[in-house]
Subunit: 343 residues, 2 copies
Amino acid sequence: MESKKLGRQTVRFAHPPAIAGFGSAVGRKEREGPLGQCFDFASADDTFAQMSWEKAETAMQKQALSFALQRAGLTAEDLDYVFAGDLLNQCIATSYSLRAQNVPFFGLYGACSTMAEGLSLGAMLVEGGFARAVAAMTSSHFCSAERQYRSPLEYGGQKSPTAQWTATGAGAVILTRQGKGPFVTHVTTGKVVDKGICDTSNMGAAMAPAAYATLRAHLEETGRAPDFYDLIVTGDLGSLGKEILMDFFRQDGIDLTGRYEDCGVMLFDRKRQDVHAGASGCGCSAVVLTGHLLRQMGAGGPCRNLLFCGTGALHSPTSALQGESIPGICHAVAIAAEKGETL
Amino acid sequence: MESKKLGRQTVRFAHPPAIAGFGSAVGRKEREGPLGQCFDFASADDTFAQMSWEKAETAMQKQALSFALQRAGLTAEDLDYVFAGDLLNQCIATSYSLRAQNVPFFGLYGACSTMAEGLSLGAMLVEGGFARAVAAMTSSHFCSAERQYRSPLEYGGQKSPTAQWTATGAGAVILTRQGKGPFVTHVTTGKVVDKGICDTSNMGAAMAPAAYATLRAHLEETGRAPDFYDLIVTGDLGSLGKEILMDFFRQDGIDLTGRYEDCGVMLFDRKRQDVHAGASGCGCSAVVLTGHLLRQMGAGGPCRNLLFCGTGALHSPTSALQGESIPGICHAVAIAAEKGETL
């Protein structure tokens, strides 16, 4: 059997899986942001009618999956696999959301790269003939993340200007073997990259080198220039990490201005919403993709070729206390509005 | 393209990936157990010459992968993907162990089912033509797990008789497209199963229903009877969960006696080693597989057909404190010594 790999990190699909559905659910602050009108559902008070923030996150995942299935005209019973994970310890938002679904499940941990990781694996299983339909899903919740990673909300801790604001949101995408598109045409899988950044309030700086490494690999292995894409998005480097990534490319003589954006910058209005360096969390890139970007790729939409690069910081509060630096990873997924543009 | 699925949960491989290498590293107590002489390396004091238990776990993973690669005659550069995860919050044992390896990485969270999950995904990517060689890897460490899930060691807390002892160990398996075997012939992917058990000191009871569900699905979808297999192993239900699983099958008129064992029961001598209901942790089934079971499948070995069923409990300390029950999952991987026996 011939390898489907281009170089070491990229797979090109001869039969690109279709994105048959997508769904999103967000919190109030996300609803009040610049993309607020794009999401399928927003909770007025971020509780999603649950008794704990963790259960709220689970409820959000169920809603996102439900919208995605509805749009695809499928039920959970039609899914061969779900790929999902989240930021909570032991990924409990996910395992509790899938307790209600009768579907084979692969649990992922990729921090904020989880949506891209799930899309990558899901697309390979569909194209490989192992599945007709799969879902990729993830979430984050500002309040459950604050409690776990930082301080209880009641403490009212100050944040440094380089810190990001964990998005409250869940996104789900359904991939199928047949469909009208858009289509997943390539996936480039990241390696762990660690340049020694130890400041957990500056995740953008920690993850930018991983984003750069995966983007470079993707462009080299596909032979594409950045301007092949109408939009390259990372998710989520925030405003500082975005600048660092653009600087890396400038040193290579490549100017990404106008063609590159970061989901952490897109989700909130930084002037109006006091989110410091922008948004973060698994849910951020997931809802920007499922609420906004995929809508831009419909018939006649402005975006025909998208490179979606999920970026994750793979540290923990324990590793930070032990003085360890923050390893990063980035997985890139190329999405084309039409199949014909893929090869 | 024809689906490779048998029923809803099982994939049968037309070209079964080969297990080209396997490696294991364990702690002192595991070395002193009944399988002690099988492992590639044992640390005399469980520190693996590191300054923290978390870093010890990372060091153990690197050793296991190194032994597995050596046995396969490969280097990390030859791997298309590594599938790995562990029990620590944010899976840090894994992300730090792979920081040193120049290889595309998919992070998993499947609790103690991680080795089976990684083998399942790795085998699909190899058979699907996306990879020539992949690794599946996982670990657990008694001391890092106690600190995170229970009490600091210094506290000297008592355990209930139904509790299990987290194994200190890491295992890695290399799958390749070509090889002498043994071969991964089928994978059956689990669903989340939760029968309402809330006692985190009785994980065997929480996971046994998931193991039963996946085993039933595997047997039905493949049309095999349990006696097709020389050995069916779960990992890790412990002594109590093992009895519960055998009871479930007895109610179906099936007696698994003599054909079924649990990795949590095999790793330690419960009479001599004071481990209550047996071993647990991602590392337990990983080292029983890589230290003992796969050695039984070599040329002329006593085991020609093995069904390896990884079982994971998908709760967290937070979900337990919130009164939630413990969801379980089980992924089954069928391994045959010879290719001819697979279809």
